[in-house]
Structure formats: C-alpha cells, structure tokens
C-alpha cells in the first residue's frame, strides 16, 4: 500500500530478528508485536535492506528476479505497516 519498493528501507532499531529453521521470528520491543518470516530468502532480504539503495535491489541481491518479487514486496509491505521496517533516514518512533 504505502510501501515504496524503490525507496531505501531498514529495520526499526527496536526490532530483533531471531533465526529459526523455517525462517525467522521478528519482535518489535516498541509495539510488542511479533511477526514471522516464513522462509530464509525473505530473512536475507530483511537483514540486508540497509545495505541496498532500495528494496528491489535487496531482493535482486537475494536472488529474486523482478518477476518473482511480488510476494516478497507484499511481505515487506506488511512489515512496513507494522513499523517493523522504516524508511531510511526517518526517525525511529515506536
């Protein structure tokens, strides 16, 4: 919805990522919400967001072609809506 895949994103500083066999668990200490990442590729994308100029590049770097990015961008959108991800350069507020 409001997620811009051509923008630069990063994890909120109050979010912890715990690796799990199926992917990862994410916990936001500010909102106290828990989320799941349901495969390892999306974990790699999320963890590397801040190393890339935009979300699409992070997806490509994780081996996801542009044609296959839709479910991943959707997942990132869900994370952005729950404040797990924020735009690079914006202030972290819970």
């Amino acid at each position: 919805m409001t997620f811009d895949p051509d923008a630069s994103w990063r994890l909120h500083h109050q979010v912890a990522v715990r690796p799990e066999p199926f992917g990862a668990l994410l916990y936001h200490f500010g909102t106290r919400k828990l989320s799941f990442l349901k495969n390892r590729t999306i974990v790699e994308v999320v963890n590397s967001l801040s190393d890339h100029p935009d979300a699409r590049s992070a997806c490509r770097a994780a081996g996801i072609d542009d044609a296959q990015q839709a479910p991943y961008l959707h997942a990132l959108d869900v994370l952005a809506q729950s404040k797990m991800l924020i735009r690079e350069g914006t202030h972290d507020s819970a």
Binding site: F22, Y27, R32, L34, Y72
Partner: protein, 410 residues
C-alpha cells in the same frame, strides 16, 4: 493461555506449515512465563499457582540474573513475569531493569498493590516494560468476590496512576468466568477509560482454580456468547490465544490467533524455585520438565527435557480423531483436561460439541495438587460465595449484547 499476544505477519508460505513448525517446537520459547514468587497479598479463589506464601527456596537475585543472561543468549524476546505478586519481591525492579538492559523485554502481571504514582512514572519512562493489571470483574462486586475485598479499588487505582503518569497501553487482564462474561463490553469501556487494552483469557482448573472451576467456568451458552463477542470485537482485544478450544464454533480462522497448544513447544513456565513446567497452567509433577539449578540451565531443559521432547512429537487425536472440528481445536487445552481428570487424548472439558460435558459426567479422578502455597490453614476447596450473587449487576444502558473478539497468534 498461550501467553502469546501479537499481531501477524508476512505470508510467504501457507500458514499450516508454520503451525507444523511450532508443533515440533522451536530452539527457544517465543516468550515464557516466569513466576518470580509464590508470595501474594491477595488470595484469589482461582489462583492458577495456588499462591500465598513465599517458598523459602525462592531463587536469589543472582540466580534470577543468571537466568536472564541465558534468556538473552537464547534470544527469548520477552518474559511474562507473574507470581504470586511479583512486585512484592524486594529485588523486583532491579530484575526488571536487568532484563531490559539485557534485551529481554518484560511484561509483568500485578494486582496493582505497588503501582504508586512514583512507580507509574518510572514505568512510563521505559519502552521495554509492559504492565498487566489483573481484574476479574468490571465492578467491585463481581471482582472482589473472586479476588478479595478491596482488590477492585487497588487495581483501578493502579490504572489511574499509570494513566496519569502517561504510561501508554497498559493491559487489563481478565479471566473470563460465569459471573463476568456479561461484562465484556464494560471491561472494554473500562480499558478505553484508562487508555488501556483489554486482554481476556480462559479460566483454567489449575491451582486453586481446580476447586472453583465447576462453579466459575462459563456455561455452554456463555461460551457461544463469548465466541460471538470475540469474532465481532476481537481485533481490539488480546486473548493470549487462549480460546482455541472454541474455534470449532465458527469458520476456520474466524477466531484470530495461533490455534494450538504451545506447551513445551513455544511456551513454558519457570516457577519461583526454578522448576520448569510445560505451561503456566500446568504446575504439577506430571508436567515438570526439569529445574534450572539442578539440570544444566534453562537452555538444556528447554531443548532436552524428555517431557518437552514428548510434547513435540506428533500427538494422537485419540477419542477426538473422528470429530470434524479436530483440525480447529486440536483437542483443546492439555491442562484443562488434566486437572478435571479427563484423558489427555480426549475432548476438552469445554468442548463445543458437548463431548467434554459427557466425559465429565463419567467417573473420573482429579489429580491431587503437587504444591500449595496458600496462606492460612485451609486445606480443601475455598468456600465460594459467588453463586449466590446476582450474576449481573447493572449494565450500561443500551449496551449491546456481548459479542466477542479474539486476538492473535504469536
């Protein structure tokens, strides 16, 4: 309850896979309940840990900090601290500060006794502490019959202090009973009044709850009423995913949350002496996995305890295998079955198909409690006056019939 309150989540794979993952257990609990003390200033009739007196073997401050260090290493995101009344431990605030400094978030449950304006101000300044005030009636009459005289005033004073200090989003934690199930809208209004979130959970026949469950647990009609209220209002209300035994009352997924028993798989309990149990509602030798002191730490108990390994094996549906709702309720709550003397591979005592009611009518042997920390000399059931009370004090004019809500999963 599965003590899992949360919102959900990016879906890249279908959800069933995740449930299967959870059933096999995780490398560390998502969150765990830690009863810091059995000491309590109250003597609630349904106390799941039969609290009252402090256990002389209670873990020391140093031992508690060692556990926190281990939780940090395991990346346990937060602990639900309870008791007893945890704030009566002299080192309570020291332990809260230690946990949050070590990236272990804290949510603690209290009856409000120590939530003074000064404490409220201090809590308001931390992002990593969440407070849950227990209240089992939206009126003093209904609440105090279960929690004791003056307990409603104590809890609401704590809520006032938190609101006045600017503490955001405290939780009001309600155990749903036969006598307060008609007050759900009033509880929601109370939460709104204090800028708090309502959290409702299931009454379990655990601890002293075993003695009063027959009189206090919602009737079959009330279970439906509760379910409807949750489905209608659930997006605003937390449930600890504790009502999954009702999920067969509607369409799959209508009741938000992770509908599975997380005992020993994604949750567990550490008690005041370091004993580790499969879930907060299962403080009994049958569900004792180990001890953090006598075994080699919590991580070892979590990963290797034979009981936990057993719980992570595929479970038999037993007597429920021919029931069409089994995929929804998974046979219900292990602790509820155990403490009412029902077989673990059969229906939940509050089974929506009525199989539990029939099972309860048969001969059964309720297990003896393994530990009782109640104060005074009471041995047997605590006399309960509730049933003679008018069940329903005046409800706000025009209040809609109760309907329900739910909440979420891990």
């Amino acid at each position: 309850m599965t003590p899992l309150d949360s919102a959900l989540a990016p879906v890249v794979q279908p959800v069933p896979r995740l449930v299967e993952q959870f059933e096999r257990g995780l490398d560390a609990p998502i969150c765990l309940t830690w009863e810091l003390t059995y000491a309590c200033n109250l003597a609630c009739v349904h106390c799941l840990s039969s609290s009252g007196k402090r256990d002389p073997r209670e873990l020391s401050t140093r031992q508690c900090k060692d556990i926190i260090d281990e939780l940090e290493r395991m990346q346990v995101f937060y602990v639900n601290i309870g008791g007893g009344e945890p704030t009566v431990r002299p080192d309570f605030w020291e332990l809260v500060d230690y946990a949050t400094a070590h990236h272990v978030g804290v949510k603690f449950s209290t009856n409000g006794v120590r939530i003074t304006p000064e404490v409220a101000a201090r809590l308001a300044s931390s992002d990593y502490v969440d407070v849950q005030i227990s209240l089992d009636g939206a009126t003093a009459e209904v609440n105090d019959a279960v929690r004791g005289d003056g307990s409603f005033a104590m809890a609401t004073r704590a809520l006032e202090n938190l609101a006045a200090a600017g503490f955001k989003d405290a939780k009001i934690s309600v155990v749903v009973t036969r006598h307060n199930v008609d007050q759900l809208d009033e509880f929601a209004a109370l939460a709104a009044q204090y800028g708090a979130t309502l959290r409702i959970t299931r009454l379990r026949p655990s601890g002293r709850g075993a003695d009063v469950w027959d009189e206090l647990h919602p009737t079959a009609e009330q279970q439906v009423q509760l379910y409807d209220w949750l489905v209608e209002r659930g997006d605003r209300v937390l449930t600890g995913d504790s009502f999954f035994h009702l999920s067969g009352l509607g369409a799959p997924g209508a009741l938000a949350g992770l509908n599975l028993c997380g005992a020993g798989r994604v949750v567990c309990l550490i008690d005041p002496v370091g004993d580790v149990y499969a879930c907060p509602f299962a403080i009994h030798d049958r569900f004792l996995a180990g001890n953090v002191l006598s075994d080699s730490g919590f991580d070892d108990v979590w990963k290797n305890a034979p009981l936990f390994r057993e719980l992570r094996e595929p479970q038999s549906a037993g007597a429920c295998s021919s029931c069409g709702h089994y995929d929804s309720c998974r046979g219900g709550c292990m602790a509820a079955k155990f403490f009412t003397g029902l077989p673990l591979d059969g229906p939940d005592p509050e089974c929506v198909e009525g199989y539990g009611v029939r099972a309860l009518e048969r001969e059964r042997l309720k297990p003896k409690p393994s530990g009782d920390h109640s104060r005074g000399t009471k041995q047997g059931p605590i006399p309960l006056v509730l049933t003679s009370k008018p069940p329903r004090p005046n409800v706000a004019a025009g209040a809609a019939p109760s309907r329900l809500c739910n909440e979420s999963p891990v």
